[in-house]
Amino acid sequence: MTETPLLELRGINKSFGSVQALTDVDFEVGRGEVMALVGDNGAGKSTLVKCVAGTHAPDSGEILFDGAEVHIHTPRDAAQLGIEVVYQDLALCDNLDVVQNMYLGREAHDRFQRLKEPIMEQRTAETMKSLAVTTIKSIRQPVATLSGGQRQSVAVARAVMWNSKLVILDEPTAALGVAQTEQVLALVRRLAEQGLSVVIISHNLHDVFETAHRITVLRLGRNVGVFQRDKTTQQEVVQAITAGVPTKVSGIPATATAPV
């Protein structure tokens, strides 16, 4: 890749008390690329994402977005850059309906803080349509009444609606059945086709190989390899997840060369 990546992390360190969650991690996502982030439990996937999302501040390291260094302190900072995160537990309010969740924290309002419901309902309907989410009966029904796949669709649609450039999906298919998983994976591919960059965190290598262009493997808080999807095998990736060693040479990001 010759052009500058959309998101680039350099030498990120993060510790919680005495636990070193991330050590000197480099990570990048190209434009329109689906980058998978894989690793065993406790490998630091979620922590890394939270550093990008503004939930955690890294102890050291740089974050570059669109080639410029940025400091992301709050989720709002991330949203302003065009970074949206869909968390594993979806972060939807069950008591609110689909439209209300889509606009949570960013409600359309006039200068008296009055909600503009018609605009919100209209744009929600349009977004759902553009993403071909057709299984939801009414966008005015509470999210509590939706199935897992529908809830995931709402969460992804919410992330996409805000002209975002980068969507990070944390275990998007973990709780879904086969058909629903296929729906969500199709949705992920559609996002990339529309020019969005996607980071997909997953335990499920089948899902990863179905959607990702490249795969970054974390192990024990370190980056142990970046693989091209079409030049690697599941076996190779599994080996990196379970026994990979950092290949990083000081100052140079880990590349697609597979560790042996």
Partner: protein
């Protein structure tokens, strides 16, 4: 933008499913029946309960079902209902505010002190005293809310401490005089002013007109945006019901008289409705209200969505204390004084019961301001009815407690059925 452009496949409010359901009034009943079967009872049971209570006491006491007593009930429910309005917001967050009854006492004590002529200076006018009292209570709410939201002390503990502290302040201040008489007419008006008959009709027309305009305005906005609109029969029924209700209430109040002096619509009724409308607007139509529901539903989701959760919490505790102050002023006006017992008795539990009986969840995220309105009406009616029918005062507590238990049990069972029917 036409409807077809934005319609989602299978959207149930769109024009297509209307063909499957009978249209018109019958269709409305049909859908209501479907709602009830699936456990979505809404406020129906408690409204039916209120009707039953009224019918029951009409047979029990000869002086219950009269125009004069109707006005009495309105005035008696006003104070508690104000507190209950505030409770709804606190419960929406999944928090609790136990301090409201004595914060109401502080509000009442403040106006009483401010209107009292001191040595060498006259008392303040109630029109100045009341806003000052409300601001004092807003600060109390802000302090209690900040301890909950920013330090993280459970609201139960913070407001229980408030309950004791503000009670202490009231008893401490009133230990010597025993009570302060309120002579200011503006303050006393909140409990005893009646509008003239003509003013009453105008108010009824205003309420009905503004409601109709608001509802129709919303419908026009939706049609312009090409969105599905609620069934037009439901809209017509709502507008008609509000018009009938407001004119009916004024008609009853206007027909009342005491010893030849005609009464009219009590100011208390206007205060109750005004706050019902304003607070419902705040809860349902503003970003703040939306954020309150969001925090109550899933605080973590709200935080991740960029909502300033501590700010919402502090503001809600301020609303709670402000409504308590307003309620306290009305309650003091009802008896024209403040004494050491003010804010005691069942005021706190009545206010919380009113919100909960009406259908507000204790666990946050579910409830509406009108729940407190209906709950307040039920509690005031039961208490008034048992008094006029000369029951033992103990009966009031037993009956109110039973209604509370019954209402919440019914709601819980209905909700279970709702889950089972997959809604």
């Amino acid at each position: 933008m036409t409807t077809a452009d934005v319609e989602i496949v299978g959207q149930d409010k769109g024009p297509a499913p209307e063909e499957e359901q009978p249209a018109g009034l019958f269709g409305l009943l049909h859908r209501a029946a479907a709602d009830i079967r699936s456990g979505n009872l809404g406020i129906l049971p408690i409204v039916l309960a209120l009707v039953f209570i009224v019918v029951f006491f009409s047979f029990e006491a000869t002086n219950f079902f009269t125009a004069e007593n109707f006005g009495n009930i309105i005035i008696q429910m006003a104070g508690t209902t104000m507190l209950a309005y505030g409770v709804v917001f606190v419960l929406l967050l999944g928090e609790i505010d136990l301090s409201i009854s004595y914060v109401a006492g502080i509000g009442a004590l403040a106006v009483a002190e401010l209107q009292r002529p001191g040595t060498g200076h006259p008392g303040l006018s109630g029109l100045i005293a009341m806003p000052i009292a409300i601001v004092i209570c807003a600060l109390i709410g802000s302090a209690q809310g900040s301890i909950v939201a920013k330090i993280g002390v459970p609201s139960f503990v913070v407001t229980l401490a408030g309950f004791l502290i503000w009670q202490g302040v009231i008893v401490y201040r009133l230990a010597v005089p025993g009570s302060i008489i309120i002579q200011d007419r503006w303050i006393n008006y909140t409990g005893s002013y009646y509008f003239s008959h003509v003013a009453g009709w105008l108010i009824a027309a205003l309420v009905a007109g503004v409601y109709a305009a608001t509802v129709l305005g919303g419908v026009i906005g939706k049609v312009r945006a090409g969105l599905p609109v609620q069934d037009r029969w439901a809209i017509a029924v709502k507008i008609a019901a509000v018009a009938l209700g407001s004119f009916g209430i004024v008609a009853i109040c206007n027909s009342a008289s005491v010893q030849g002096t005609p009464l009219g619509l009590p100011l208390a009724a206007v205060i109750i409705v005004l706050f019902l409308v304003v607070l419902t607007f705040l809860a349902k139509r503003t970003t703040f209200g939306r954020h309150v529901y969001a925090v109550g539903g899933n605080a973590e989701a709200a935080r991740r969505a960029g909502i300033n959760v501590p700010r919402i919490r502090v503001l809600v505790f301020m609303i709670s204390s402000v409504m308590a102050a307003i309620g306290g002023i009305i309650l003091a006006a009802n008896v024209n004084s403040v004494d050491t017992n003010f804010g005691g008795g069942t005021l706190l539990l009545d206010a919380i019961s009113a919100a909960v009986i009406g259908g507000t969840s204790l666990f946050g995220g579910r409830g509406e301001v009108r729940n407190a309105f209906i709950g307040g009406a039920v509690i005031a009616t039961v208490s008034n009815g048992l008094n006029t029918a000369n029951y033992n005062p103990g009966t009031i507590y037993i009956v109110t407690g039973s209604i509370l238990l019954l209402a919440v049990t019914l709601d819980t069972v209905a909700r279970r059925l709702q889950v089972r029917s997959g809604r």
